[in-house]
């Protein structure tokens, strides 16, 4: 957005217990170790499919809603015939050597014309060499996303912070495009296309341009391409680069990350635990998939958005404030261990305290400033009120203004704009326009305060921040004590019990054998310094 003052992240304004912050980080590190081990020793059907997509495997078998993506067909065939323990890359590139062409090899396997096999001798060496070349080209494709984004920003200009983030969700990509362009013209810097309800539980990625989503639009590679082109076009017109966001979550997290890199998306919702807790996706599947997807995001220069706001839509936002911070420390650790730097960690939180709670705004400032202090290098993503938005749109507009004010005072980088009609209907054109007017007024009128604001030592705000920090430390210590898997099984996150072998997608998790080969993950790890 345009403001008269440079955006600042106010740091060092609260005297918080720095030793406690360091302890939270070290506890998060300890908690994450078994998850990192899991990601090192196992793969999933979606990771293998993502690698095929990078290699250029495309298309679907069948038509309409029944259509099965060719990457799914190939991985399923390999899994059923020779097993997936050694990965899909070697049998697939052996097939490529036999047929002479990537897409022909994939379609032949899908059509049962060519049975996948594990090559030996010279055939094996040739398959490894071809797979390695494909891996190198995949990594180059991912890195090119970052370079191309940089060039596009140099050409059209960078949006100044905070970035105003707006959602479109018509279900029809051809309706989404004019709405997204209208939102950018009105002042949005980031456009998120909400996915169709239920896509997270599909174990395949729908294909082509789609017009039939429920409360959102299917994430498909073609939809990504169409929206990216539309935002590039409107960015040229406006003289600022418009960022595109989608969701690398659910059962196809790695593949959607791959598609995002290939189509130069800029931000992806990507939380280490959201799928487990809120979508009942198997915890092993989620932890392995998020590691791979974060490596891809890292190299592609994609900013992830984590989903801590969800903890506050189910729990009380005062009593549950520490669960947000605890999750942020875990998301930070698991991002770093996948080579994703702090500068690409859009840690999420939300303005969800009941406006009737005394001192609500002061409490929100304490929470937002505490998070700002704990993560000085992260482009924080601040989510607007949803839970306490009543049908009173006039009060809702004011609450959204207070949310914007707290965002301005505490230097939040990415502001998801609140809608005064939240919970009533999908936003009208005028709802979005009014939301941008609200944000422009509040940020324009108060952004300089972020650089000047100081808090009373040991005052209400500082004491509340330290209380939340202490509760966070205690929660992380408890989790570290029993271990992450046991903690989730005990319902320590969002009061939701999930078991290690429960939930959706476990059948797609495969323990890697000693002769597992995957040049994409190897080269990505090497490039990012991930071991």
């Amino acid at each position: 957005m345009k403001t008269s003052h440079e955006f600042t992240r106010p740091i060092g304004r609260l005297q918080i217990d720095r030793a406690s912050v360091a302890e939270c980080r070290s506890l998060a590190s300890e908690i994450s170790k078994p998850i990192e081990e899991l990601a090192r020793t196992q793969t999933t059907v979606s990771i293998e499919r993502a690698c095929l997509r990078f290699a250029g495997v495309d298309g679907v078998e069948g038509e309409g809603v029944e259509a099965v993506p060719i990457p799914n067909r190939v991985v399923d065939e390999v899994k059923e015939t020779i097993g997936l323990e050694r990965g899909v890359m070697i049998p697939f590139f052996h097939a490529v050597e036999q047929t002479g062409d990537v897409q022909r090899a994939a379609e032949s396997i899908a059509a049962h014309e060519l049975a996948p096999s594990w090559p030996a001798g010279d055939d094996y060496e040739r398959a490894v060499a071809a797979a390695t070349r494909a891996g190198e080209s995949s990594v180059a494709t991912i890195a090119a996303a970052n370079d191309n984004r940089g060039r596009a920003i140099d050409r059209v200009g960078e949006a100044s912070k905070p970035w105003l983030y707006l959602i479109v969700a018509t279900g029809n990509i051809h309706e989404d495009i004019p709405q997204a362009q209208a939102a950018a013209r009105a002042g949005a810097d980031v456009i998120a296309v909400i996915r169709s309800t239920g896509q997270s539980l599909l174990d395949y990625v729908p294909y082509g341009a789609t017009t039939d989503g429920f409360a959102g639009t299917f994430a498909t590679q073609e939809n990504f391409r169409l929206m990216r082109a539309a935002l590039d076009e409107v960015g040229e017109e406006l003289g600022r680069y418009i960022r595109l966001t989608n969701y690398a979550s659910g059962l196809c997290m790695p593949e959607i990350a791959a598609m995002a890199a290939m189509e130069r998306l800029d931000m992806m919702l990507n939380d280490c635990m959201y799928g487990i807790i809120f979508r009942d996706i198997n915890m092993q599947r989620t932890f392995i998939d998020q590691h791979f997807s974060r490596m891809v995001h890292s190299l592609a220069g994609i900013v992830i958005n984590t989903g801590e706001d969800n903890y506050l839509t189910t729990a009380d936002a005062v009593a549950g404030a520490h669960s947000v911070l605890a999750s942020q420390f875990l998301n930070e650790r698991l991002a770093l261990s996948a080579g994703l730097p702090e500068e690409q960690q859009g840690l999420g939180h939300a303005f969800e305290i009941d406006p009737d709670v005394p001192n609500q705004v002061a409490l929100e400032i304490a929470h937002a400033q505490l998070i700002r202090e704990c993560f000085p290098n992260a482009p924080l993503k601040y989510m607007p009120p949803t839970k306490h938005m009543t049908g009173n749109i006039f009060r809702g507009f004011l609450t959204d203004g207070m949310f914007n004010l707290v965002g301005a005072l505490t230097g939040q980088d990415i502001i998801l704009l609140g809608m005064m009609t939240e919970g009533i209907h999908t936003p009208f054109l005028s709802d979005r326009d009014l939301a941008i007017e609200n944000a422009n007024y509040v940020f324009g009128g108060s952004i300089a305060l972020a650089g000047e604001l100081r808090f009373e030592p040991d005052g209400d705000v500082e004491r509340r921040a330290n209380q939340v920090l202490e509760e966070t430390r205690q929660m992380l210590a408890k989790v570290a004590d029993i271990g992450m898997f046991a903690a989730i099984e005990a319902g320590m996150f969002a009061d939701t019990v999930r078991t290690r072998t429960g939930g959706k997608g476990l059948s797609g998790v495969v323990v890697r054998s000693e002769d597992y080969v995957n040049p994409v993950t190897d080269l990505l790890s090497e490039r990012l310094g991930v071991n």
């Binding site: 169709s196 239920g198 409360a215 729990a315 009061d495």
Partner: protein, 246 residues
């Protein structure tokens, strides 16, 4: 009582406000279009107090005008709530005395809807708006099946647990998917021969109570419903059903 009109700052001035968007570029013609539109809504002496371009093709208006219409509230047919709202203790007592066992309640979000916020608000221990959810009532046994539940799974759970009531929640919807999904559950229960003798309840922010008959449900709850209302209704329905059964 006599007919009444909206009250702005004087009796019977009939003043109301409206805001809307027209698909036309901002211009004097656009303002005249908004005024004419207000007149066609039977607003007398309309004023456009705010006009703002939203991009090149749309204009947003805030309009005031005086309605000529009036309403006599006494002539309206208002559906009375057929059940009393009971306290926590009363719900438990009514269930204990009428059933002499726990009321078995199955809850689910069906179809593509993954949003359990409404279902959880009604069912979970924590509840909503200061009311505890149904899980909190010792005289109820609650089976919360969560999101994206297939109608067949609801039927199976009802059968396996001898459920007395089914609560179906739909939050996110598009093109009336919420109505379709509710009907699917009802049809599955009918096909399985379980509909009679079952208290079938639907709920979600897009529903209104009048839709119950059309959907083949015993009761539909809309936006802002509290767990205590649902608990009271279940107690009432369980009692009347027990009476019907003799």
């Amino acid at each position: 009582m006599t007919a009444i009109k909206p009250y702005g700052d004087a009796t019977d001035d009939g003043l109301i406000q409206a805001s809307f968007t027209l698909p036309i570029a901002e211009s004097e013609r656009a303002r005249q279009a908004a005024l004419e539109f207000a007149r066609k809504m039977d607003l007398g002496r309309p004023q456009v107090v705010h006009m703002k371009a939203m991009g090149p093709d749309f204009t947003f208006f805030i309009v005031y005008g005086a309605t000529q219409h009036s309403v006599d509230p006494d002539e309206l047919e208002v559906p009375e709530r057929e059940f009393p709202v009971l306290s926590y203790q009363e719900v438990n007592r009514v269930l204990r005395e009428s059933l002499k066992r726990q009321l078995v309640v199955v809850g689910a979000c069906t179809g593509t809807d993954a949003h359990t916020v409404g279902l959880d608000a009604i069912l979970s221990m924590k509840g909503f708006a200061g009311d505890h959810g149904l899980e909190y009532f010792p005289e109820m046994r609650v089976l919360n099946l969560g999101s994206q539940v297939e109608p067949a799974d609801i039927v199976e759970t009802v059968r396996a647990n001898g459920a007395d009531a089914v609560l179906v929640s739909q939050v996110v919807t598009q093109r009336d998917a919420h109505l379709v999904h509710l009907k699917e559950v009802r049809d599955s229960l009918v096909d399985a021969g379980l509909r009679n003798g079952l208290i079938l309840v639907g709920g979600g922010p897009r529903f209104s109570a009048e839709q119950a008959a059309e959907l083949g449900y015993d009761k539909i709850f809309g936006r802002g419903t509290r767990p205590s209302e649902v608990a009271s209704y279940l107690a009432y329905a369980a009692t009347t059903r027990a009476l019907n059964a003799g």
